[in-house]
């Protein structure tokens, strides 16, 4: 097999490959580090972190769907202090690359507080600011559903940080392009999309929603075409890099997402079905690149004519 180049550069930091496990599907890395060397990854986006510890939503939090799943975890995390004092030191033992910190909040001040703290950690390469969690009330998505709301978060976060800020957007909006442009104007260094789509399932026996929180975030292969479309639209409208995600399940999907305009690609639900999904996709990339006559992944970013 000919030598192929899988390296990409995201906001000035080179990645060995564009494959990034998405936040909420990879914990803080160690469940996976027990079963494979997670240093094969481009990086990974760690579990969404908030100012205060959160238990999240009541269970059941998970529902099966055709080619996908719904989750309503609700940002369970130990809070930023513990993430810094306990999770990051543990991660350091099994991961030697810059990690992507994923941050969420319930007010502009909370976003700024958490980002400012995380920004000081040398292990952190990028901060992915989640303005799109569909599973918490009064936070997350509330900021990401209007251009002004998203821009306000970006400005507040940029004012207190030095690391690249990637804004994670919701697909549950009328015009994702307008929101992406507002984030770019407010100083965002990159955009990542799409977060999960709001969905719901009903238990026919009980005649109640399957999920305790009634609705949740729909992810998995079923949403891949929506994600490709939105990555295409947003990457054509902004100059900053786009990180594509949503239903990515294979090396072919990674390449398709990059052709749509993604500089790097996050893999979410697939990790929960096959814990080796990201490793397998990375191992398969050279074969698929050769098949489609791609020498370097950098060359295909936005390459869809």
């Amino acid at each position: 097999m000919a030598e192929v180049n899988t390296k990409v550069t995201l906001c000035g930091i080179e990645l060995d490959n564009p494959v990034i496990p998405a936040s909420g599907t990879f914990g803080f890395g160690y469940e996976f580090a027990e079963i494979y060397d997670i240093n094969v990854l481009g990086t990974f986006s760690f579990k969404g972190t908030t100012k205060d510890p959160r238990f999240g939503n009541p269970t059941p939090r998970i529902a099966e769907c055709t080619s996908g799943m719904i989750n309503a975890v609700g940002l369970q995390n130990p809070g930023v202090e513990k993430v810094i004092s306990e999770e990051l030191p543990k991660l350091k033992k099994c991961f030697n690359k810059p990690v992507m910190a994923n941050v969420s909040g319930f007010s502009i001040d909370e976003y700024a507080y958490t980002c400012a703290k995380i920004d000081k950690e040398e292990q952190v390469g990028w901060i992915e600011v989640n303005v799109s969690c569909p599973n918490v009330h009064g936070g997350g998505m509330a900021f990401g559903t209007s251009p002004e709301g998203a821009a306000n978060v970006v400005r507040a976060v940029k004012a207190v940080t030095t690391k690249p800020i990637i804004v994670k957007l919701s697909p549950n909006v009328t015009d994702i392009v307008a929101i992406a442009k507002a984030c770019e104007e407010a100083g965002a260094d990159a955009i990542s999309l799409i977060n999960t789509m709001l969905g719901m399932r009903i238990d026919l026996n009980k005649r109640t929603p399957v999920i305790a929180n009634k609705m949740g975030g729909f992810s998995g292969p079923a949403i891949f075409p929506v994600a490709v479309r939105m990555v295409y639209q947003v990457s054509h409208a902004v100059k900053i890099p786009v990180v594509g995600m949503g239903g990515v399940n294979s090396a072919e999907d990674v390449i398709e997402m990059m052709m749509a305009g993604a500089t790097a690609v996050e893999v979410g639900a697939a990790n929960l079905i096959n814990p080796f999904a990201c490793r397998d996709i990375i191992n398969d990339l050279p074969r698929v690149m050769e098949k489609y006559k791609i020498n370097s992944l950098k060359e295909i970013i936005g390459g869809c004519k």
């Binding site: 996976f32 238990f55 999240g56 989750n71 929960l272 079905i273």
Partner: protein
């Protein structure tokens, strides 16, 4: 945890809704009774977590109830079918706490994970008592299997069609050194209140991954948040906080 492919050697009905599936292949990743496996089923997106009923180095027995589409597809699988399975999930029961007269209490489809536990405890020469609770006579399974291990077995049925009429708590013996249980949550709660010693409870929850990554099955405990799939499914009586 290990991902592996196992081959079905038999898959037969024990009663109207409960099936026994035996698989062969490398099962060395299973380290304790009370653990579970997570099975990829064609046509289903999420894996299906099923408790381990019995196992050795190269075989696995699952006893499962048809409750939805996934288990329905499983019930129709034939010998020779190969399944992608994650093995060795969850903590399992702690045998070291059993004492000399352990009590095992299973309700319905909560009975299977107690089988290998009973086998191991009998292997250690313990005086094992077992209470098996069902709704009605037609639902009973594994009574003879537990008896064959040399356990003292009592069966309860809610409608009184077999054994002792009522819930499992009606059959509690006067003395036991420690207890192990698995079954529906109302039963677990009743056992929690009716028992006098320490014990271990195996919980069930809808799961995303089954190996601790997604936080889909978290619960609150006395010692903090725990994931049923990774820190459980077995919790000690002393750490349980009832939510609902």
């Amino acid at each position: 945890m290990k991902q592996t492919v196992l081959e079905i050697t038999s898959n037969t009905a024990l009663n109207k809704n409960v099936y026994k599936m035996v698989l062969k292949g490398d099962c060395t990743a299973i380290t304790s009774c009370g653990q579970f496996v997570n099975i990829q089923i064609e046509g289903m997106y999420l894996r299906r977590p099923i408790s381990v009923c019995d196992y050795d180095a190269d075989s696995l027995t699952l006893v499962y109830k048809v409750v939805g589409k996934g288990t329905e597809v499983m019930s129709k699988m034939s010998s020779g079918t190969k399944l992608d399975i994650l093995l060795g999930l969850g903590n399992g029961y702690d045998l070291s706490k059993a004492g000399e007269k352990p009590l095992l209490i299973g309700g319905g489809v909560g009975v299977p994970p107690l089988y290998n536990l009973a086998k191991k405890l009998r292997g250690e020469g313990k005086d094992v008592s077992v209470i098996l609770g069902f709704n009605t006579k037609e639902e009973i399974f594994y009574e003879d299997e537990f008896k064959s291990l040399g356990c003292n077995v009592k069966v309860t049925t809610v409608d009184g069609s077999y054994g002792i009429k009522g819930f499992v708590t009606k059959a509690l013996p006067e003395s036991y050194s420690h207890f192990y249980t698995c079954g529906p949550e109302p039963m677990l709660k009743a056992i929690y209140n009716a028992t006098t010693t320490s014990g271990q409870f195996s919980f069930e929850e809808r799961m995303g991954c089954g190996f601790g990554a997604c936080m889909g099955c978290s619960c609150k405990t006395v010692t903090g948040y725990k994931r049923i799939c990774k820190d459980g499914p077995v919790l000690f009586k002393e750490e349980i906080l009832w939510q609902k």
